[in-house]
Amino acid sequence: TSQLINYTLFLADNALILGQRNSEWCGHGPVLEQDIAITNISLDLIGQARNFYQYAASQIGGPATEDSLAYLRTEREFKNLLLVEQPNGDWAGTTLRQFFFSTYQYFLYLQLQNSTDEQLAAIAEKALKEVTYHLRWSSEWVIRLGDGTEESKDRMLAAIDELWPFTGELFLPSAFEIQVAKEIVGADVAIIQKEWQKKVASVFEEATLPLPKDDIYMQRGGKDGVHTEHLGYILAEMQYLQRTYPGCAW
């Protein structure tokens, strides 16, 4: 169904855009081992994106390919969460964004691997090992920076302030999520939310970081293609060659 296509693209776009953002660190990390770690996460995410795009392309049929879906859609067609398109900020912002997202992705894939859609289930199952590592790695950084120096705590607090408003959207199911959850054994966003909150609370506690208050207003729009102003720039850069030399093999 077309909602399954949208759902698959949503999964792909999330992974691609965060992979693209993380890869900006490549060669610029705070220490070599972490440069390698964040680049590795980037690579995993782009791998997941490719699997989802390939699946979406097979559903769409015709000339659609993983690359046509990644390189030839516009800012209003991308369905990724606003969270993943936010600028990297400093290392606190990047690791916190990763933590928020990996926690979400972990509980999402945990359910998806049991989906009746075999393709989605297979991709989720395979990716789950990677995401388990991303989650551990990013949790450790949130804890390390939260409970490190005064400066690192301040920076982590600023990152929370910056990114928290983008976490609500994760749990506001879009039309395609609702439809897909109905049609195939998909993911129940309410369950993900509960697990996500539990995990975040426990990591924040260990990190001696306060949980934001309940009444913070949550941004939304990504799933419907209404993004922040950042996405347009990401795509302009990412798609440049494909747009400049249409129809070429690379």
Binding site: L16, Q20, S23, E24, C26, G27, H28, G29, P30, V31, L32, E33, Q34, D35, I36, T39, N40, S42, L43, I46, G47, A49, R50, Y53, E66, D67, A70, Y71, D90, W91, I143, R144, L145, D147, G148, T149, E151, S152, R155, E237, M238, Y240, L241, Q242, Y245, C248, A249, W250
Partner: protein
């Protein structure tokens, strides 16, 4: 034992192809040469991440993007091995990095050229990594154990990179008119700088003789360069491209390719810091290092806290 005897044992090992290991006695000059060379090599891997990293965000397909990221990540890994190798010689990573940032330590000049089009990713893999491999294959047999072993690991990955680079160019060479032009243009720009990677002519090389005696190096700059040229001159035919050297031509009697004069003025100029990107590369590395200071501090502080806690727990349990 007297220095004289130690030196005899050392030279004897070198002679008999027994690797020198970190705890073995070694002449100061040997140690110094190795630190200089290995750290220069490590820095080349790290600085070398930048020109290629420059195209990650703009890679033209997801597959190419993934391959490129993995490649740059490999370079970071090589840097790690090599920093570890310098540590076995008693020089800390921080020291080594400071020398890079202060300009005291060098890195391969090739990375001071800009990457201007996607084809440069191919040319770097094919020519730059290709030239590096010539050197590295030789270094797998270098006399210092940790360096030689690091090189064995590195060589495996590098030859993979070279094939990937060639594959990028091959695809372009079979593509549209613009892609073909892009391919030839990249070869034109990277050919001469990659020949310079082997260093000055043997007749002008300052460190070569002693390094050869110690078996740190096992072939001369000119020997390696000639091998490289002979290899590339054949491979370029597969691409249907040409090398930008009107004097390049097969020498039947010598069984090698003759080639034109290298612009050594340009070579020394870039070494001195005047290449198109010298400033930019060092600035990028310094920025990453300086902006990462608070992260490293926080990690250290957290580790300290954890240690203190663990000790306290241990004490209480005792």
């Amino acid at each position: 034992m007297q220095i004289h005897d130690l030196e005899k044992i050392f030279l004897d090992k070198i002679e008999r192809e027994i690797k020198i290991e970190p705890r073995d006695w070694m002449p100061d000059a040997y140690r110094k040469t190795l630190v200089r060379q290995i750290s220069q090599h490590a820095h080349s891997e790290i600085v070398g991440m930048l020109p290629e990293g420059n195209w990650i965000s703009r890679a033209p397909s997801l597959k190419r993007k993934a391959i490129l990221i993995a490649k740059v990540q490999d370079e970071a890994g090589h840097g790690l091995y090599l920093y570890s190798a310098t540590e076995t010689l008693g020089t800390s990573r921080e020291e080594t990095i400071n020398d890079l940032h202060s300009g005291k330590a060098k890195y391969s000049s090739i990375f001071n050229y800009p990457t201007l089009t996607w084809a440069d990713m191919g040319a770097i893999g094919w020519l730059v990594d290709g030239a590096a491999i010539m050197n590295q294959v030789m270094l797998c047999r270098t006399s210092y154990g940790p360096y030689a072993r690091a090189m064995v690991r590195i060589c495996k990955e590098e030859s993979f990179h070279q094939r990937q680079g060639f594959d990028i160019l091959y695809t372009l060479s079979k593509g549209s008119r613009e892609q073909k032009d892009m391919c030839q243009d990249a070869i034109n720009r990277w050919w001469w700088p990659s020949l310079m990677m082997f260093g000055p002519k043997d007749s002008d090389s300052t460190h070569s003789d002693q390094s050869m005696k110690w078996k740190v190096k096992r072939m001369t700059n000119d020997e390696l360069r000639q091998r490289f040229i002979d290899m590339i001159a054949e491979q370029v035919k597969v691409l249907g491209m040409i090398l930008p050297d009107p004097n390049l031509k097969w020498n039947e009697s010598g069984k090698h390719y003759d080639f034109g004069e290298i612009n050594w003025g340009e070579f020394w100029n870039v070494v001195k810091g005047n290449g198109p990107c010298n400033k930019q590369r060092i600035a990028a590395r310094k920025k990453a290092w300086e902006e990462g200071a608070w992260v490293r501090d926080a990690a250290a502080a957290y580790a300290e806290k954890r240690k203190a806690k663990a000790q306290k727990t241990e004490l209480e349990a005792a």
